[in-house]
Symmetry: C2
């Protein structure tokens, strides 16, 4: 592993995160000095659930899948994309990871020792406030996902997912799925076979899929079916 000392060139990207953007320079620099940066190839397991959490992770480039396993079954819980942190809660609590993490592609990851995070947290009120905001946001995200899972059928989940992606892509009629369909299926809580059928089922509402490319020919119609709701689908509210 590399020795502490994140390259200065990575500072601005990290600094731009809401979690770090408001804190004092002095404290930010202290955090960065203790951090490692590593480049990982595709399909590397970064974190195994159950292990003690020693680092806060910041993904600088690439993509990371957060997943969980039980009794031989596996499910994708979330995807971390640059630039964002993951497993903040475990770091803060010093508790074991609840999720595993693996790279979906070649990824550049910064590792900030959890003890440093906790130390700076005590020294910098602004940082403390940012952590609270971030944690509250994470919590609300999971609650939304849980509502999605419990209140909707798989077809409805897919329809709303597509609308959210479309919105993320700037509202364009056409956009690309950001990852493999098998992972999307797992994320949405269904099998790959069922995802295929669900896409077919949405043809009736103007959804066309060719490979990774999705076209929404009649957004109104899809929305009438999907009934998106800001308390589930709006990532910011």
């Amino acid at each position: 592993m590399m020795r502490p000392g994140m390259p200065d060139s990575d500072y601005p990207d990290v600094r731009r995160l809401a979690l770090f953007s408001e804190m004092a320079d002095e404290h930010f620099n202290a955090l960065m000095r203790g951090a490692y940066v590593q480049n990982f190839p595709q399909h590397i397991e970064l974190i195994t659930e159950g292990e003690p959490s020693d680092f806060l992770h910041v993904i600088l480039s690439g993509a990371v899948d957060l997943f969980s396993v039980w009794n031989g079954r596996e499910t994708s819980m979330a995807t971390a994309r640059p630039v964002s942190t993951f497993i903040l809660a475990a770091s803060i609590r010093g508790a074991p990871y609840l999720m595993s993490a693996r790279t979906l592609e070649k990824s550049r990851i910064a590792l900030i020792p959890s003890q440093d995070v906790r130390a700076i947290f005590g020294a910098d009120n602004v940082f403390a406030r940012s952590i609270v905001t971030e944690l509250a946001h994470c919590y609300r995200s999971v609650v939304k996902t849980q509502k999605d899972l419990k209140l909707r059928t798989s077809l409805e989940r897919l329809a709303n997912y597509l609308l959210r992606q479309q919105s993320r892509a700037g509202g364009e009629t056409e956009f690309d799925l950001e990852f493999e369909k098998r992972r999307l299926a797992s994320y949405l809580g269904m099998t790959p076979e069922n995802l295929s059928r669900a896409f077919k089922g949405l043809q009736a509402y103007g959804v066309v899929v060719q490979g990774n490319r999705v076209t929404i020919t009649d957004q109104q119609d899809l929305e009438r079916f999907a009934k998106p709701n800001r308390l589930i689908d709006d990532p910011h509210s």
Copy 2:
């Protein structure tokens, strides 16, 4: 509504919560002075999802159901029992509630203005740290619930739920379900009809149910089926 000023007699109960137990007296008292306390009858809706969150709620006695609604469907997300807080995340962020809340029985609830919480948060580092700990705990709880939902069948969820309840009840062979079966069903993500059948299905593993009373005649056997896991079922880890 009562005027601010929580009765002094309620102070100790609130103070005992991890969220408030470490903070300075001065700040705690300031929070309490701005708080209201109200007694609510059974089946009163305290909070409606989507509304702005003006108060941090503390349940002093009784029980509160946190639930969500979408497209005419409803699901129970969690139960708040004394003494604990709920909707901390919404209060902190000043964001709309993601869940509704209703009393399950006659309940006594303290309402602490969110703005007071945010003010004291800025003034008291110890309190800030407690909030972070609490939020991280809440986040991890929801992640566990999501793993439970996505990785297990309804029969497995029920089996593990019973083992958790048994543990909560001190590990006794016999214990009572803490709420209506229809709500339990909703909490576990199934219909009441299916819950009935699931209980029957667990007879094969030594589970006996009479009304609200559950007897686990062969814990080993039930555990072999349920395969409890600390990263899903341990509320503390």
